[in-house]
């Protein structure tokens, strides 16, 4: 018989102090790796099993958005701007990095609500649930990279060798996604408005961030983009794939610091308050 004693009392985590929280979180995640994998598999199957197209839907959404943009550009309704690479390549890459954020955030913020019936019946690691949901966007990211490879082949260009740095350079955007996912899943569990608000906000943010168009040189949008951390987190990896250079290193650096801060703060809040979610969900 294992001698581990669990205690439950009100404001339990407050009594332990902030410092002990990080090792606790680390231990929990490490212990639950297999659970995270199983939950990941569960959600993945839920999304694609009863569908003929399955994971191919990850192709279709960016292709349709890009086609719309190309049509709008051609008819002069909006201007994509000055891009040094073939536009479809630029746009698909942009969408891939953007969806890593947007899909991940939408999935993770609804993770606790979707698993509501499970949460009120079984006591298991809720962090694993959020992580597994946020991880769903990695699958569509990988699928979209197949599309990227096809386009490189089609345009007879080769990506820069710095493409191997992708797993490293997407860490900041993934931390930001996961961090926001933690806090929003918690709030969405209590107040369902969060989920609806988020899907509207995501559409808005996509048009506000130069994902499918080049960064404007003047105007309000240019100023906003300068202060938009998402822009740096998307454009720097994209530039790295297309050109092999980083021209906005400082912006990326500060965005990375911001992402890490958000992640740490959010996981802390989640850990302190996750015990309350079951009774409110």
């Amino acid at each position: 018989m294992s001698g581990i004693i669990s205690t439950y009392e009100p404001d339990n985590s407050l009594k332990k102090g902030y410092l002990s929280i990080f090792p606790e979180i680390w231990k929990e995640v490490k212990k639950n790796r297999w659970l995270i994998y199983q939950l990941f598999k569960r959600e993945f199957s839920a999304a694609y099993k009863q569908s003929f197209m399955g994971v191919l839907w990850a192709f279709i959404i960016p292709v349709v958005s890009i086609c719309v943009f190309m049509v709008l550009n051609q008819s002069g309704i909006l201007s994509i701007g000055d891009i040094r690479a073939p536009y479809p390549l630029y746009a698909v890459l942009g969408m891939a990095f953007w969806q890593l954020f947007s899909r991940g955030l939408v999935a993770s913020s609804s993770s606790l609500v979707n698993a509501g019936s499970m949460i009120v019946k079984i006591n298991f690691s809720k962090k694993s649930l959020v992580i597994a949901s946020a991880g769903q966007s990695i699958i569509s990211f990988l699928v979209q990279f197949v599309l990227v490879a096809i386009l490189f082949f089609y345009y007879h260009t080769a990506p820069s060798f710095t493409i191997v740095l992708i797993p490293l350079i997407v860490i900041p955007i993934m931390l930001l996604t996961l961090g926001l996912g933690f806090i929003l899943s918690l709030l969405n569990g209590i107040v369902r408005d969060i989920g609806n608000m988020l899907s509207i906000l995501m559409t808005f943010l996509m048009f506000l961030t130069p994902v499918l168009y080049a960064k404007p040189k003047t105007g309000i949008l240019a100023t906003v983009t300068n202060y938009n951390p998402l822009y740096y987190l998307i454009s720097v990896p994209r530039e790295l794939v297309l050109m092999g250079t980083i021209s906005e290193g400082a912006g990326f650096f500060f965005s990375t610091i911001l992402s890490v801060t958000v992640f740490v703060a959010c996981i802390l809040v989640f850990h302190l308050t996750e015990a309350r979610i079951a009774e409110r969900i």
Partner: protein, 409 residues
């Protein structure tokens, strides 16, 4: 916490909010306060809040068993969820030693689109098993669930019985130190139920601490040593299961609604050749009672008025338990004949030397019939009540009335 104590529950309370919108608001406020390092002041009730579980304390020794009984909405499930760590108490403290397994609802977390095999792994992971444990137990899980080649079919196409069997099978294989059970044994067919009880017995024998929540007095008595009776979130009694059950049945007597009325009596021919006046239960001293321990002597006193002479009159008393079973006696069965014509007011005393009825809260009917039991003259349908409590040192549903003889051969 002592070495041989598995669970210590120390004055715990839990509050719930009746209003959804307020519950949302309170949730956000509590999270906000905790984030800022402030206490959420759980000991105070805000508007629309009430104590669903109120100041409950108990201890369970390692390998001990505790039943929890109480009417609907008394806080049993909330208490169980707090023991499981799903809900946290607002006051007091719970300390639990070892791995906790729960049979609160089997098959929670099953995904309908995934096959039984895939769901076994996922469910086991959620229940806290490691990959190695599942690999080792996999065949045993499969064998216990007994769903044959459906194992590679999506769970969506399972019958509800198969679904529950698979869920139960995974849950009992998680090998917990403490097992929390919430009336799930009431599912599946008879064969599977027997299998479940056998498994539970096996688990208990292994030294697992068991907490069982049930409405079924019989299950509680058979499966647990001690029992906690709660009502309206408050502790009413904690002690040996038999005593707890007797107190529970007695106290809930007043709450059990009388669903049946005299309506059907009115449908009888209005001629009223005979009429029941009263029925009374007495103990061996002749004192009127409404509670009796199973196996004790019972006298039923039936008073009637006979206005006309009945051709072969039949008198009877039926007992109905809360699962719809009927136990009955009547003068026709017993071949009681009445030599002189019964007229005017009569008093019939039926003596049951040993009332071997299972523990339950019975509704009783009194009947007068002519020639056959179906030809009713008067009928007081479920108009009387008798609580049968559990006899001391009893095992099983009833003690069999027997005669023993042991001889040297």
């Amino acid at each position: 916490m002592d070495d041989d104590t598995a669970i210590t529950v120390d004055h715990i309370s839990k509050k719930y909010c009746k209003s959804l919108k307020r519950s949302m608001l309170y949730g956000v406020v509590d999270i906000g306060r905790n984030t800022l390092g402030l206490s959420s002041l759980p000991q105070h009730l805000r508007k629309d809040e009430f104590w669903a579980v109120d100041d409950i304390s108990f201890e369970v020794k390692k390998g001990g068993t505790l039943g929890i009984i109480g009417p609907n909405g008394s806080g049993k499930s909330t208490l169980l969820k707090m023991l499981n760590g799903i809900f946290w108490p607002d006051k007091g403290k719970i300390a639990i030693k070892g791995r906790v397994g729960s049979l609160i609802e089997v098959g929670a977390g099953f995904h309908p689109l995934l096959t039984g095999r895939e769901n076994i792994y996922i469910n086991a992971a959620i229940l806290g098993m490691t990959r190695k444990e599942v690999d080792e137990q996999f065949n045993s899980i499969l064998e216990f669930a007994d769903i044959g080649n459906f194992i590679d079919t999506p769970v969506k196409f399972y019958s509800s019985g198969m679904f529950v069997r698979l869920g139960f099978s995974v849950a009992v294989h998680s090998d917990p130190d403490i097992l929390l059970i919430d009336e799930v044994l009431a599912v599946g067919d008879k064969d599977f139920q027997i299998k479940c009880y056998q498994k539970m017995y096996e688990i208990k024998k292994r030294g697992t601490t068991v907490i069982l929540v049930s409405h079924n007095e019989y299950t509680i008595c058979e499966q647990t040593e001690n029992c906690l009776y709660i009502n309206n979130g408050k502790m009413k009694f904690l002690g040996p299961s038999e005593e707890a059950i007797n107190i529970y049945i007695k106290e809930t007597l007043e709450h059990r609604r009388k669903d049946f009325t005299w309506e059907e009596t009115d449908k009888l021919p209005s001629s009223k050749k005979a009429e029941i006046i009263s029925l009374e239960f007495c103990d061996q001293n002749g004192d009127a009672i409404s509670f009796i321990e199973s196996g004790q002597e019972l006298h039923i006193i039936l008073e009637c008025i006979m206005r006309e002479e009945l051709h072969h009159p039949i008198f009877g008393v039926n007992f109905y338990d809360n699962s719809g079973f009927m136990y009955c006696t009547n003068s026709d069965y017993e071949n009681v004949s009445f030599e002189e014509p019964l007229l005017e007011k009569i008093r019939i005393t039926i003596t049951i030397p040993h009332l071997h009825l299972p523990t339950n809260n019975y509704f009783c009917s009194a009947i007068i019939a002519e020639e056959s039991v179906d030809n009713l003259i008067d009928w007081h349908n479920m108009a009387y009540r008798l609580v049968v409590g559990r006899a001391r040192k009893a095992r099983g549903a009833i003690k069999l009335p027997t005669q023993w003889e042991i001889n040297k051969t």
